[in-house]
Amino acid sequence: MSVICNESSDFTDAVLVRQIAQELEIMKRIGLKTALVAIVASIAPAAAWDEAGSVRNCTWCHGTTGQGYMVAPRLAGQRSAYIESQIRSFRDHTRDNPFSKQYMWSAVAALDPGPARDLATYFATIRPKPANDGDPNLAAIGRAIYMDGIPEANVASCYACHGPNAEGVRDIPRLGGLAYFYLKARLEQWGQGYHSGMGTPMPIVARQLGPKEIEALASYLSFVK
């Protein structure tokens, strides 16, 4: 877990460094074997479904109320079926962009479908707050692309799948109010050949988008409540 969260904040870093130092100190004192047993024993209860513990494993990076933090996207208000499908794709290593590889592959490696569903349900019920961090001057262009696509350039309407208010449905994600950085990175990554879950048309959709169009879409969506 310490590796997964090393960028979440200076505060967490400090806590982790202190923890590791303490653990090393204890190891020296009581011997490696005993220390390992002690550490495993202290982590083991969290591996079983224990709401507070498992949720905390997510909120370390995704923010205390799941509203997202830096590169970790908002989970609050996300479609539960989508969260589940993404956890699955991290476990199967089908969602393979650099941040997913670095953080999420190991984060969900031990997360079974049952607990994954519980976590998904938990985060889906939290009221999402819009990031509002895009360029307001690009929002109108972004909205036009979102609603109509760019038919002459074979860019599909986002609205057809993600809904009139970018709220998503079933395993199609809510996009409204996600952070500009995250939206932009995701739209770019499909064009760069990274994958997500199986059977999604997004690689084809996003490949048609130019950098200006991606900026406009990400800006617009960051403001959608």
Partner: protein
């Protein structure tokens, strides 16, 4: 293009004159020039391949239909005549659909023909996912109609396997939610404006079906291969 002209070129080995062979070759050449001119007209708008990919981003990667925020109908196996007619109906506002109006208005007539000629030849498995509770009633309506309610048998026009013909669309494998939506809102969506439209044929039938009967027959046709 293994058309009827192709074999002629191999036949005249024992022929007295070479003239028929020469004519055949010239005809083939003339046809391929015409075909290339049409291809160029299509390519000028981004190419048929790019447009097909664009269609499939919403209608499913094998055109089997897709459940976005809205149900996107199956295009695979759809009659060319029907498809051309519908694409024109979107352009001419005889059929109301904000997304498809945008999509269709940039399609040139040769592109519309090329798309219609392509999709009829696809035959993926039905997407499935329809409820199975009232398949017996659905089959009865499809095969025999509901004489007391002035509902003719669907099979009378759409064929006993629901494959359709000419301007009558294929129903086999169509997305359940799409068929329900169409039959529920038939006259609000189709046959708009003053132009006479083939959709008028279905209007009374759609009106005479109850919601439960619509759901039953939509489920039945969705399972037809």
């Amino acid at each position: 293009m293994p058309g009827p002209l192709a074999p002629k070129r191999t036949v005249p080995r024992r022929a007295v004159s070479l003239r028929p062979a020469l004519q055949a070759v010239m005809l083939t050449a003339a046809f391929s020039v015409a075909a290339r001119a049409e291809e160029r007209a299509v390519a000028a708008r981004g190419g048929l391949e790019a447009k097909l990919e664009y269609c499939k981003t919403c209608h499913g990667l094998s055109a089997q239909g897709y459940r976005g925020y809205f149900p996107m109908p199956r295009l695979a196996g759809l009659q060319s005549l029907y498809m051309e007619n519908q694409l024109r109906a979107y352009i001419e506002r005889r059929r109301t659909n904000a997304i498809m109006a945008n999509v269709a208005k940039v399609l040139s007539p040769p592109m519309i023909s090329a798309l219609a000629a392509y999709f009829i030849n696809l035959d993926p498995k039905p997407i499935g996912g329809a409820p199975r509770g009232s398949l017996a009633l659905g089959k009865q309506i499809f095969m025999d109609g509901l004489p007391d309610s002035n509902v003719p048998a669907c099979s009378a026009c759409h064929g006993s396997e629901g494959k359709g013909q000419n301007e009558i669309p294929r129903l086999a494998g169509q997305l359940y939610e799409y068929t329900v939506g169409q039959l529920t809102n038939w006259s609000k969506v189709r046959g708009q404006g003053s132009a006479v439209d083939t959709s008028a044929i279905m209007a009374p039938t759609a009106r005479n079906l109850t919601r439960l009967q619509i759901e039953a027959v939509a489920a039945y046709v969705s399972h037809l291969q």
